[in-house]
């Protein structure tokens, strides 16, 4: 018997290691990730008349309302030569990606209780699929943004000063940071709500409030001028930095420096890793407490 002791493929026991990722296994289930994404995409707008058009309508109307309220009514300047609407569209689209990742992953355990309670697969596949399917949505919405960008640059006679910066090549890094932040926070929240559901209520309005602190409908510089005492709230908020950084790439009017981006990257990585660890610890026996 002793000779075969080492041949076990895996063991199931009560011992939890702090960090225990089986990347080989996650890789083996990659097809499942693809199928979950496919499921999310094809079932989202089934039996709707407008179908995928909804992808466009959401950011479009939000941006219009924002322009009306924050720019026309409240007179928040968006910078010289930058159309208010385009400014808002950039902020809304980017913020939405983060928000969708966060909200979509923050109830992973509760939502999938049924399936998680029956079959084993690496649980992390589920939140990952949410991030990927939201990425598709984000890509489609970016097409809309690019469309309006070109419209304002080429067709409009109002003399807008639009010029994409060389920094735009860093865009994939921004997307990655947002995905990591959203996924990280989402995994932390879903893990913590398996036993105590309190956080679930916080997330509802918490995300709403966070938007106002994330430089979505105003430039960071404007906030600094108006409310210098509270500027640190925005300055240290990684989402605000990311949203602002995206606008820096396409408008070049804002003050994002490398240090801030490095700071946002470090925070994103930390949140993501922390989320992974806590998710990994929770997934093993959450079914007993949920």
């Amino acid at each position: 018997m002793k000779t075969t002791e080492e041949n076990w493929l895996y063991t199931i026991s009560s011992k939890k290691k702090l960090i225990d990722f089986n990347f080989k296994e996650i890789w083996r289930y990659r097809d499942l990730l693809v199928l979950f994404v496919k499921r999310d995409v094809i079932t989202l707008y089934k039996q709707t008349i407008l179908g995928p058009l909804w992808y466009f309508l959401q950011p479009l109307f939000t941006s219009l309302i924002f322009t009306l309220i924050f720019n026309n009514l409240a007179d928040i300047p968006t910078g010289d030569g930058i159309p208010n609407f385009l400014f808002n569209l950039a902020g809304v689209t980017t913020w939405n990606y983060f928000k969708d990742c966060l909200i979509g992953t923050s109830d992973t355990f509760k939502k999938n209780e049924n399936i998680f309670g029956k079959v084993y697969f690496p649980r992390v596949i589920m939140p990952m699929s949410v991030v990927v399917s939201n990425l598709l949505k984000y890509t489609i919405q970016l097409v809309l943004f690019v469309g309006f960008y070109l419209y304002f640059k080429i067709l409009s006679d109002d003399g807008y000063n639009l010029m994409p910066q060389l920094r735009v090549f860093l865009f994939p890094v921004l997307v990655l940071l947002m995905a990591m932040l959203g996924l990280g926070f989402g995994m932390i929240i879903t893990s913590m709500t398996t036993k105590y559901r309190d956080l679930k209520f916080l997330i509802q309005f918490g995300v709403q409030l966070l938007m106002y602190g994330s430089a979505v409908m105003y430039p960071m510089s404007y906030f600094k001028d108006k409310l210098p005492d509270y500027y640190w709230l925005i300055e240290w908020n990684p989402i605000a930095i990311i949203v602002e950084a995206f606008r820096t790439m396409v408008f070049d009017n804002t003050e994002i420096n490398t240090a801030m981006l490095v700071y946002a990257s470090i925070i994103s990585c930390l949140i993501f890793l922390f989320g992974l660890v806590i998710f990994n610890r929770t997934e093993k026996s959450f079914i007993d407490t949920i």
């Binding site: 018997m1 000779t3 075969t4 041949n7 076990w8 493929l9 895996y10 063991t11 199931i12 026991s13 009560s14 939890k16 083996r28 289930y29 097809d31 499942l32 693809v34 199928l35 979950f36 496919k38 499921r39 094809i42 079932t43 089934k46 039996q47 049924n114 399936i115 998680f116 309670g117 029956k118 079959v119 084993y120 697969f121 036993k195 105590y196 093993k284 026996s285 079914i287 007993d288 407490t289």
Partner: protein
């Protein structure tokens, strides 16, 4: 020495907390954390009680599984039986890695896939075909593997016509068929099957059992089979574990495990016995003492192979000199139809034996094998006499017993394994003559 063990459970235990998770959970958690910090044992694990549902215990924590150890060899089909709440589902959950044990280790040399409650993860808006892919992937197949088998799966499910229709338009039976079809085409090293055969119509159940037989016998897969259906367990497994209150109560040959289980299951003992003459059924003349079922070797049993002889004994006290009493029994099937009745009266020495009285009579009737069909039966017992006609006692549903058919090519059905009609299955005599008649002969 190369051992053939593919799965080994060592002292596996699992504790569940009773009552609401909520009030007091934080304080328990903090207490537990504090003990851990001080390097002490979890304070709540000390007071854990065994898993007995009906009695109220002092502790909030119970062992759903306690000290479970067993081994499964490669290619073996192991049955797991137990009452509701005996820990079967918990064991399966641990085996399929849905949750962790509180104690102990399970070691395995192969991938385990479970066929628990089919239909998990079906999305109502997606078509049957899309769901086959998704479900297959959830159960651990790759896209390529599913693609290879998709035609086979659709064919097995019998849902070909609806395969490109959203699943929400399916009847519940069709969903189950499709889900089972996916699961049945998995190819893990160890397959865990839980009660799936209890779904679908009779035709599909037959197909499902057949498929399970193929998997376990034909393809030589290791299978853990959990069921309440003793006939299915009997057909599919050689060795069975009986779980009682979270512990392994029996681990051995299936037929013996099932007998053990039935004996420990309320009202399923192969005997009934009264010790107080005043409360025993009967009247001033006759009192029933006991009724029991034995096999050829004199062992008390209430499960018999269809080919086996049964011996039913009725013991009664007879104080009566005036009448010659006779014991009577009826055999009833599941629909409470009396299949036949018999009477002690037919014994050749009946008159002679009953000349005596104030004695206990033990009258035994042999019910031959190859007479009853498979199924469960109940026994009605009466004692009475002729001339004048009188019934001293009549007791319905005194005992139940089961007849199973292991379809090993024995008995009336021969090598045929399909459904055999008829309420009874007597072995009858046939004679064959070969003649030289022509078809056109008068």
């Amino acid at each position: 020495m190369q051992s053939n063990v593919i799965l080994r459970a060592e002292n596996v235990g699992k504790i569940y907390r009773l009552g609401l998770v909520g009030t007091g959970t934080i304080s328990h958690d903090l207490n537990r954390w504090w003990s851990k910090v001080r390097g002490k044992e979890d304070p709540y694990l000390k007071v854990v009680e065994t898993n007995v549902r009906s009695t109220k215990g002092k502790s909030d924590y119970i062992w759903a599984l306690n000290d479970i150890s067993f081994e499964v060899d490669k290619g073996e089909v192991l049955g797991i039986i137990g009452k509701n709440g005996a820990g079967k589902s918990t064991l399966l959950k641990i085996l399929s890695r849905v949750t962790l044990p509180t104690q102990g280790v399970i070691k395995t040399k192969g991938r385990i896939a479970s066929l628990l409650e089919v239909g998990t993860g079906f999305h109502p808006e997606m078509t049957g075909r899309e769901n086959v892919y998704l479900n297959g992937a959830i159960l651990g197949m790759t896209r390529a593997e599913i693609k290879e088998r998709i035609d086979e799966i659709i064919d097995f499910s019998g849902c070909e016509r609806f395969i490109d229709t959203p699943v929400k338009r399916y009847s519940s039976g069709m969903k189950v068929r499709l889900a089972f079809a996916v699961a049945a085409h998995l190819e893990p090293d160890i397959l865990v099957v839980d009660e799936v055969l209890a779904v679908g119509d009779a035709e599909f159940q037959k197909k499902a059992i057949g498929k399970m037989q193929d998997i376990s016998q034909g393809e030589g897969r290791t299978v853990l089979f959990v069921s309440h259906d003793m006939n299915a367990i009997e057909k599919l497994t050689n060795r069975t574990i009986v779980l009682i209150n979270g512990k392994v109560a029996y681990n051995g040959k299936t037929s013996e495990a099932i007998n053990f289980y039935l004996k420990n299951f309320e009202n399923r003992a192969p005997f009934i016995n009264w010790t107080d003459i005043n409360s025993a059924p009967g009247n001033d003349y006759v009192r029933l003492k006991s009724v029991y079922l034995k096999d050829e070797d004199g062992n008390l049993r209430n499960r018999f192979n269809i080919t086996e002889n049964l011996f039913l004994t009725i013991e009664y006290y007879d104080s009566n000199k005036k009448f010659n009493n006779t014991a009577i029994f009826h055999i009833l099937n599941e629909r409470k139809q009396t299949l036949f009745a018999s009477n002690e009266f037919v014994a050749k020495d009946w008159i002679q034996k009953h000349k005596q009285s104030d004695l206990i009579f033990a009258s035994t009737c042999k019910i031959p094998g190859n007479l009853l069909a498979e199924g469960s039966f109940s026994i009605l017992v009466a004692v009475g006499n002729y001339n004048p006609e009188m019934i001293h006692l009549i007791e319905k549903d005194l005992l139940t017993f089961e007849i199973y058919d292991s379809t090993q090519g024995e008995g009336v059905r021969g090598p045929y394994i399909g459904k055999w009609p008829g309420l009874m299955r007597p072995m009858l005599d046939w004679t064959i003559e070969i003649t030289d008649k022509k078809f056109t002969d008068e």
